[in-house]
Amino acid sequence: MKRHLLSAADLDRDDALLVLDTAAELAALTDRAVKKLPTLRGRTVVNLFFEDSTRTRISFEAAAKRLSADVINFSAKGSSVSKGESLKDTALTLEAMGADAVVIRHGASGAPHRLAHSGWIGGSVVNAGDGTHEHPTQALLDAFTMRRHLAGSVGDLAGRRVTIVGDVLHSRVARSNVLLLATLGAEVTLVAPPTLLPVGVESWPCATSYDLDAHLRDADAVMMLRVQRERMNAAFFPSAREYSRRYGLDGRRMALLPDHAIVMHPGPMNRGMEIAAEVADAPRSVIVEQVSNGVSVRMAVLYLLLGGAQLGAGETDPAAEA
């Protein structure tokens, strides 16, 4: 493992499988009477959230607490950021308080990279979602969920077919998933209207399509992406109704899936928009399980980044600027 987790591309196949195997062992903890481990006692994890989040922040908080780390939650609202403090000064403050890891969510793509490579802080940086760029722990928990259902929790996802549908353009989840699933050997197809596919998608390690029905019959997993209206400042599709008819997953489309296929959604869902309520609540929907798997996967990431010896100064990026 590297010192930071900034992108799903930071993980090679062995690293990714190590995280997934570690998460599988940690998931067993959920069944125990005492859901706590002493492993990160005395370490401090700061949740630095510049963007709203429910499940990711709570998930990281639960993960850190189950490993006995001290958790400091920081949200931009009600902090000095609203008085105009820069990312650098916030980071220096956290460093002065002795943060061993900073979990950062930021609206600007690349903010975690800046934090990790600027020399402002000495601890590990975990990207919890930056702009429209990446969300690597979401990709890990999705891969964990797929592996549990499609591969018996062993090995990689070689040959499994995953269809990711919807607002790829604004989705950090889609990008991280494509990178990680390619590393694990899965075949990914992105399905979206042309306006919601990013420029340069042809260089991603996946196929693309505009036709959802054509990519359901042979899918092992279908992942629906949230239509991110808060990031949409132009007309990407004519109407919500038309989007829903062409790219929403309803009962008819779900019936096209093979029996073993699972339906996923990173949340929060727009019921009736990209996913119908009957699909979201169907037995093959693993959306709630994704949330609980998120805690196990984030515990694994925090343990692997913080549980061992801190890497030497030689591991820091030599190109870092102060």
């Binding site: 493992m1 190590l18 062992e25 005492v34 706590k36 481990l37 549980g307 010896a309």
Partner: protein
């Protein structure tokens, strides 16, 4: 990994037949102390402790004619030296279906040395349940304890120098049964 475990200068201190006899004796001792197999749970400490626990359980089944639950208990997250090495991969923890509450738990490991592994195992077990009593069975006790811990059942006491290494090889994991010692004891007090 197993191929590089024993250097060429290693000398064999226990062969396969001796390991088998030692485990049989340990199984008899466990049954004798517990007055049967009732309420016994064997927990092996990965990796080789788990195989040893299964072998002991099989012998208890032959002696008493009843199955003894066998599980494994990984101690990685409870180690006191976690920060002295990069984060380690976790090994499986499998607690038998009946749990360990009010049971007599016998921890099984291959080598007893500093005692730190067993301390970690006691902590790990604390989070799983509350056994009636905990006992310790090891194949080899090589001495040099750092903590006030002792084994209840010992396959063989092997005095060693701290500079020596003890290698336990088991057929399930290493393709053969043997205990070997490598390294030089010269210049160190036994």
């Amino acid at each position: 990994m197993s191929a590089s475990r024993t250097p060429d200068d290693a000398r064999t201190v226990l062969d396969g037949a001796e390991i088998a006899r030692a485990l049989t004796r340990v199984a008899h001792e466990i049954v004798e102390r517990a007055k049967g197999a009732e309420g016994l749970v064997l927990l092996g400490i990965p990796t080789r402790g788990v195989f040893l626990a299964r072998r002991v359980a099989e012998r208890i089944r032959q002696i008493e004619g009843r199955e003894v639950p066998v599980g494994s208990l990984d101690i990685t997250l409870f180690r006191d030296d976690l920060r002295q090495a990069p984060a380690r991969a976790l090994l499986p923890t499998e607690i038998p279906a009946g749990g360990i509450d009010d049971k007599t738990v016998v921890l099984v490991d291959d080598v007893l040395y500093s005692g730190r592994t067993i301390r970690a195992a006691l902590d790990a077990m604390n989070d799983v349940g509350r056994p009636r009593s905990v006992q310790l069975a090891v194949l080899v006790d090589r001495g040099h304890r750092d903590l006030p811990i002792r084994a209840d059942y010992v396959g063989k006491n092997i005095p060693t120098a701290k500079s020596e290494k003890v290698h336990v090889l088991l057929a399930e994991h290493d393709g053969e049964d043997a205990v070997r010692i490598s390294g030089h004891a010269a210049g160190e007090d036994l």
